[in-house]
Structures are given as structure tokens and as C-alpha cells.
């Protein structure tokens, strides 16, 4: 790793190719030659795909959308690390200058039972939507936008809520977790709403519903390794998991049915 001095580099790729969810996959080797060091990782894959299409081959399927690190679409594991080796970086924001000429790069899809592979590097993350659907929102009718200072929010709470709200739902936490657990994702969603007055009123029902859904969907259990938080492209803090542990216990005691 490190900054390359050349403006283009030649790479060898080992990419996971899988036709569909039902078929088994395997690694295929590709040469990625003459790649600009200014290109992003996704642009590098675009170049490789253009050549594959020209040669009449099936291009590598991968998810992407905004390409500016905020949509959470790009999902792949690069050399064993979700979103590649750089901290606080989504795959689309990872630049080829971080690699050296002649490097071999292994590219795999996110691995978790709750994220089945659709094709190649593209995985089905519908399970995240299902978790959100059971409580990741504020359902009270808030009417018109309230006066700016009507609901005071302490700075400490606002900062923590903002850290949690930065979650783009990419699933890197699940991919990084040896147990395929979604605790950081759920913790971020629960925390972001529970820390603010608009979401606080429903926080007990929310944490129970979202955690139970996570478990039902086949995500694993948290063993506090912290791998999720370091893999997170948005630096969501591990504190979100711990806060949720606390909230869950309290909500379990308080629930009336």
C-alpha cells in the first residue's frame, strides 16, 4: 500500500464470480492493466468490465449508486476488508493510488447468511429494510415543522445522535463481523432516534422490535470484538451497540405485555 509514483498501475484481480444465488461461485483471475492511480476502485472495475464486454464476456456485477460515499450501495470485500483497507472509506471513495503496481487484489462479496449473493459481488440486503420497517422511524404525527427552539436538544445528545445517523446502511458491519451480526447497524438506527426527543417516545417498542427482527432474519449475536466499528466507512461508534444493550434490557423490564 501507499502512494504510487506512477500515474498508471497494472494489477491482477481475483474476483468472486457467481451466476446466481442458487449456483456455487468461484474466483476468476483478471488483468487490470493501465489503471489510473486517480481512479476509484469502482472506476477500476468499470474499466475491467468495459474490456470484458468488448471481449463478449459477462461483466462483473457489483452494486453502486452515488459514488460519493453516502448511499451505501457499494459493497465488497477487498483483500479481506469490507470497503478495502482504508479506515472511514467506502469502496467508491477508495482510490487506486492506495495500491502498488503489480499488486494482486482479492475481491469478494459481503459474506453473511442474511445477505445472500444475488450475482458476483452483489448481495441482497433486503433484510436491513425489513429491520427498518418494524420501527426505524418516528410514527408520531409531528404536524408542521416546529419552531426551531421549541425542542431543546443538548449538544452532547446531538453529537451522539449525529454519529449514529451517519449510518448509510451499507452492511460493512455485518460483513466484518465474524458472527454476521447486524448489531452496529441496529444500534445506530435505534440510537439515532432514541437520543432525540422526536424519537424518544417510542424507543422502548423500537429497540425490542428491531432487535427481535434482526435475530429472526438470521443475523448472528454480538461478541463485542469491535470489528464492525473499525470497518464502518462512516465511523459509527461501538458505543451505539453498548447503548442498545442498555436500552434493550430496560425496555424488556418495562414492557407490559
Amino acid at each position: 500500500m501507499g502512494g504510487a509514483s506512477q500515474s498508471t498501475i497494472d494489477l491482477k484481480l481475483k474476483v468472486w464470480r457467481q451466476k446466481d444465488a442458487a449456483t456455487g461461485g468461484r474466483f476468476e483471475d483478471y488483468d487490470a492493466t493501465g489503471i489510473s492511480t486517480d481512479a476509484s476502485f469502482l472506476e477500476m472495475l468499470d474499466v475491467v468490465n468495459q474490456r470484458l464486454i468488448k471481449g463478449g464476456e459477462d461483466p462483473i456485477a457489483f452494486d453502486h449508486d452515488c459514488r460519493e460515499g453516502i448511499c451505501g450501495s457499494c459493497s465488497m470485500v477487498i483483500n479481506g476488508n469490507p470497503h478495502g483497507p482504508e479506515r472511514s472509506t467506502a469502496t467508491c471513495q477508495l482510490h487506486m493510488r492506495k495500491f502498488n503496481d503489480g499488486d494482486t487484489i482479492v475481491v469478494e462479496p459481503f459474506r453473511a447468511n442474511a445477505f445472500p449473493v444475488i450475482k458476483d459481488l452483489s448481495v441482497d440486503r433486503t433484510s436491513f429494510d425489513e429491520i427498518i420497517a418494524v420501527g426505524g422511524y418516528v410514527s408520531v404525527n409531528t404536524g408542521n415543522a416546529p419552531d426551531a427552539n421549541a425542542l431543546p436538544v443538548p449538544k452532547v445528545d446531538a453529537d451522539q445522535a449525529f454519529n449514529a445517523a451517519a449510518c448509510i446502511g451499507c452492511g460493512a458491519c455485518v460483513a466484518a463481523c465474524a458472527n454476521g451480526s447486524a448489531m452496529l447497524f441496529v444500534g445506530a438506527k435505534v440510537g439515532h432516534l432514541a437520543l432525540l426527543p422526536q424519537g424518544r417516545s417510542e424507543h422502548n417498542e423500537r429497540v425490542l422490535a428491531m432487535m427481535d427482527k434482526m435475530q429472526e432474519l438470521g443475523f448472528g449475536n454480538c461478541s463485542n470484538t469491535g470489528a464492525c466499528a473499525v470497518a464502518c466507512p462512516k465511523d459509527i461508534s461501538f458505543e451505539n451497540i453498548v447503548r442498545m444493550n442498555r436500552e434493550y434490557a430496560k425496555a424488556s423490564i418495562k414492557k407490559r405485555t
Binding site: K14, W16, F27, V77, N79, G80, N81, P82, P85, R87, V106, E108, R111, A112, N113, A114, A176, C177, A178, N179, G180, S181, L208, M211, D212, M214, Q215, G218, F219, G220, N221, C222, S223, N224, T225, G226, A227, V230, A231, F238, E239, I241, V242, R243, M244, N245, R246, E247, Y248, A249, S252
Partner: protein, 224 residues
Amino acid sequence: MNYLKSSIGRKQLMGLTGLIWSGFVLSHMLGNLLIFAGSDAYNKYSYALTSNPLLYLAEAGLVVTLLAHVFYGLKLKFENVEARQTRYAMPTNGEKAARFQSKWMAFHGSLILVFIIYHLITFKYGPGVEAGYVTTVDGVQMRDLHRLIVDVFQSPAYVFGYVLCMIGVGFHLSHGFYSAFASLGFYHPKYSDWLSKLGYVYAVVVAAGFISQPLYVYLFAEAR
């Protein structure tokens, strides 16, 4: 969902039972250090413990918490294996890798369980007064546990195995201590780093304390 069926509920039970055992291993280790105070002090301490009827209550508590810890630990482990069946071709590495010991909790946990059973057979249910391991301290006749320890730790294989298992205890505590607090909901940006370091210190102190006894006996004490 029932709290004890929930992922977080089970983790919290793991944390709570783990903390109880963390306290127990520290007190057990401190008791073992009496080996340095001589055979009379060692046997008197052992006698004071075993002759106290409250010991049964403490033992029952330890057995129940251990069984719960093992049962839910294995259950969670099996669920976790189920949740991530495909491994990556390359392991997570560099800055994004998890602490090594945190990924092997079930492994050193199992090692410790086997050790505990073997340990109880050797010492607690091992030869006692009727087998001739008897001594008199301050006019009271009691089991000569000190002599049994000295006899057992004459075997280099036993000492090696014991030391290895105590290193396992150290690894287990180095993640478990901090992890228990996290599962139970304790996190504070000011104290959590400190707590994580305390977990390492705790692990090293407990493991080193336990290891000191067999090494001291093997190297310096002579069988009678």
C-alpha cells in the same frame, strides 16, 4: 420475545455470569498465593474454606453460573457459526482486524471447561485425609492439601498443561472482562478505554498468579 431467548438477553447473561467467575478466579488465585507462605498457612486456609457450611452455597452459585455460561456460550456460538457459513478467502487484516483473543472465546472457553473438570477431580475430589494426606496444624487435624499440590506438580506434563490452561484463562479474561461490561451496557468515552486496559491487567495478574504456583512448586519445593 422472551428476554432469555433474545440475543442481547443471552449476551447479558454471559456477561453477568462471566463477571461472577472473574471475581471467583481472582479470589482463588489470591488463595493459591499462600503457597509462598508455607504449608501450614496453605492448609489452614483450605481447612477454613472447606469447614465453612456457606461454602456449599458459594459452590452451588458457581456451578449454576458456570453451567449457564457454558450452555448459552455454546448456543450463541452455534448460532454465530450458522449466521456466517462462508469464510473470506483472505482474513480481515491490518487496522480493520478484530483483536485475536476476541475471536477465540469459545476455544479457550472450552479449554477452561475441560481444565475445571480435570482440576476438580485432581484436587477437590482427589486423595484426602483417608488416603493419608493428613496433617495437624495448631492441634487441628486437617487435609494436607499442600502435600497433594507438591506431589501433583512434580509431573512436568501436568505443570505444562496447567500453565497452558492458565494462559487460556488470561486470553479469555482479556476479552471477557471488558466485553462483559459492554454487554451489560456500560460505556463511557472517558472510562471505557481505561476499562479495556484494566481488563488486560486483570487477565495478566490472574494468569500470572495462577501460573506462579505450579512453577514455584516444580522448581523449588521437594516432595515429602
